[in-house]
């Protein structure tokens, strides 16, 4: 009989402990799998979000994240100058403002106003139509949260108090016409957003500081790195970054805590699994010392007995590990839902994202755990004195 089949029968002989051992590995494995998904999940998701917008270079005034850096001055001149650079496709300046939306009944609702300069808009049209060069200065698009909260559809009108400086109540209200319902990139769950031209925003909030932008987005025709270099030469006071460089900033600034915690928990989880599987196997082997000595006396080689132990460990960890994958995916959905309640997290951003690499690391870690956990019990059976063990078994 082969070692694997023999190990399988050993497990079947003790179904309760084998099942519990596998379930334990499944639970630990699920947690381990989730921590591996968490370690890269947000970066993978953020990369997807950045690439989905279509822009591959972002320009701000400092190396801070957009909306935390000071605004850039002379936005129109900057957009025009960048648009003339070689290798540059579309250029879009974005300025954010605060707003309060008047309701027929109830208190005004707060939200964010995105004023853009250039085409196309960074949003995806869901209903109605997009802003066009011929759109009036009172035309805006709104996101689904705004449409749902204010019960507006394309053609409806909004009464907006906007502010480009401070509190939303500072400016007199303006009446704006909704032309479309859109989905904004990096939209936060429940956040009310409206988008319009920079002129619309500036006139709505009676901006004292006009012609400013929070960031400029660029689509490159060639390599984004070359556009970044060109922008650096054109405006040394600005910071241009490719999507990859922005991801680097996100890794530094945006919730890298979860990446660190996933590393700590991965280490703890593997150590936990290692310890427990080792204890289970050791106790199991100690209980079967007489049986093992009898098998050795019947002619089973030392190597064969050691192979039985490692096969038993592999079966327990293998079956548990296989169960851990669906369990881990279900658990990841729940944990992702919890973390997405963090403030200012875009709706489409996920913390747990499946990647083949994470699966490979998971399999590798479990295989290493199965082997290392079996080392001590393997040593016990390899050094087992056959005659003394059999004698002790008979006497007891």
């Amino acid at each position: 009989m082969r070692a694997l089949a023999f190990a399988a029968r050993s497990l079947v002989r003790q179904p309760a402990r084998a099942a519990l051992g596998m379930l334990g590995v499944a639970a630990v494995g699920a947690l381990l799998f989730d921590m591996l998904l968490l370690s890269e999940g947000m970066i993978v998701s953020m990369r997807d979000l950045l690439e989905r917008t279509g822009f591959d270079v972002r320009i701000t005034t400092t190396a801070e994240m957009p909306r935390t850096a000071p605004r850039m001055e002379r936005a129109r001149e900057t957009v025009a100058a960048i648009g003339r650079l070689p290798g540059v496709g579309d250029v879009l300046a974005v300025r954010f403002g605060d707003m309060a939306l008047e309701q027929t009944h109830g208190d005004p609702l707060n939200g964010t106003f995105q004023g853009i300069l250039g085409t196309p808009g960074p949003w995806t049209v869901m209903t109605g139509h997009d802003l066009s060069p011929g759109s009036g200065t009172d035309d805006v698009v709104v996101n689904r949260a705004t449409a749902a909260d204010l019960h507006v559809t394309p053609g409806s009108q909004l009464l907006v108090h906007a502010s480009c400086e401070s509190s939303p109540g500072a400016a007199p209200p303006v009446r704006l016409r909704v032309v479309g319902i859109v989905s904004f990139p990096f939209e936060i769950a429940g956040e009310r957003m409206i988008g319009g031209s920079l002129d619309t925003l500036e006139s709505a909030c009676s901006a004292r500081a006009r012609d400013q932008a929070d960031m400029v987005l660029v689509t490159s025709r060639g390599r984004p790195d070359e556009v970044v270099d060109a922008v650096g030469r054109l405006r040394p006071d600005l910071h241009a970054a490719t999507n990859a460089q922005m991801l680097g900033r996100v890794e530094q600034a945006g919730f890298s805590y979860f990446r660190q915690i996933s590393t700590v928990l991965t280490t703890v989880t593997v150590a936990f699994a290692l310890l427990l599987i080792c204890v289970l196997l050791t106790v199991s082997v100690n209980q079967r010392l007489g049986e093992i000595a009898a098998l050795r006396a019947l002619g089973f080689s030392r190597r064969r007995i050691v192979a039985d132990v490692i096969c038993e460990s592999s079966l327990m960890v293998g079956i548990g590990g296989a169960l851990s994958l669906p369990a881990g995916l279900i658990l990841a959905t729940g944990l992702d839902r919890i973390l997405k309640n963090l403030p200012n997290i875009p709706t489409d951003l996920h913390f747990f994202v499946f990647e083949p690499r994470a699966l490979l690391v998971h399999i590798g870690l479990l295989a290493a755990t199965a082997f290392v956990a079996a080392l001590y019990p393997m040593r016990i059976v390899a050094r087992l004195p056959i005659a003394a063990t059999l004698r002790s078994e008979v006497i007891s």
Binding site: E64, T68, A209, S256, I338, P343
Partner: protein, 285 residues
């Protein structure tokens, strides 16, 4: 204390070009700079620096560094080095006021209020919101996103802890089943010499409680030992004074209140099946 729609009372990242000047002036307004900014720009108390509200450094004014402070740790800004300057509000308004702005009409992001009678907070909020349209008063303990961040992180850690407890329980059951099985003959003899099942079960329960208590104590000691290590690592990693791991009496008592009953119950559950068997069967006769 109340916070009226506070967003950015502190001036952040105003430093565009920090130029150290040798001249000391008695009229130069004082500022505080964050430790991180002082370290990165080699600033010291008493130095005179120039701050500008514009990225091109125009309209800069001189200030004297009166002190270096450790910023309050903000979980939302974790990973971002807090290069901050604190100014007196009139100095900040003078610095940021545009040519068309009339002094005295400057907007502020928020006003913090400490009430003489904190119990009146809700009534005061209703009063302010009713009398001043366009101004939103909220309780300080409900303002800001940091509280939301902490709550979510707490929930996340509770979820992770639940899965860990589940895994540990399963392993514990497997282990106790094996350990109880090892003592099958001893239990059989005790049954045969006349000890009632309840008496043996009490003994097993007591053993379980003792082992679980010892395990919980060891676990807490390990956690307390690793607490400082983890805090130091993360504080170094993020250059923050934030406490990442804190073993509070509440957390410690929660751990013990879960671990000890769990260990005891697992021992009794694993033993119960064994004790239901006949004494002779247990000693394999």
């Amino acid at each position: 204390m109340l916070r009226l729609h506070a967003r950015r009372l502190l001036l952040t990242c105003l430093v565009v070009s920090v130029t150290t000047l040798q001249a000391q002036s008695t009229r130069t307004p004082d500022v505080l700079v964050s430790r991180q900014l002082a370290e990165s720009e080699h600033l010291a108390i008493g130095q005179v620096i120039r701050l500008s509200p514009h990225t091109d450094g125009t309209d800069a004014r001189t200030f004297r560094i009166a002190g270096i402070y450790e910023p309050t740790a903000d979980p939302q800004r974790l990973g971002t080095v807090p290069r901050k300057v604190r100014l007196h509000l009139p100095d900040l308004l003078d610095l940021t006021r545009t040519a068309t702005q009339v002094a005295g009409t400057d907007p502020v992001d928020g006003i913090n209020i400490r009430l003489a009678r904190p119990d009146d907070a809700d009534a005061f909020i209703r009063d302010v919101n009713g009398r001043m349209p366009g101004v939103g008063a909220v309780r300080a303990d409900l303002a800001g996103n940091a509280i939301g961040t902490f709550t979510v992180v707490e929930r996340f850690h509770y979820a992770i802890a639940t899965v860990t407890i589940l895994a540990a329980t399963i392993f514990l059951l497997a282990l106790t089943i094996m350990l109880v099985d090892e003592r099958r003959e001893t239990v059989g003899i005790l049954r045969l010499i006349g000890l009632p099942v309840g008496r043996i079960l009490s003994q097993i329960l007591l053993e379980g409680v003792l082992v679980a208590t010892a395990g919980a104590a060891f676990g807490l000691t390990l956690a307390l030992g690793s607490q400082r290590l983890l805090n130091r690592f993360f504080q170094w990693k993020y250059d923050s004074a934030m406490q990442f791991v804190g073993i509070t009496p509440h957390v410690a008592s929660l751990c013990v209140s879960i671990a000890v009953p769990l260990g005891a119950v697992a021992t009794v559950l694993a033993s119960w099946a064994l004790l239901r068997r006949n004494g002779l069967r247990l000693v394999r006769r």
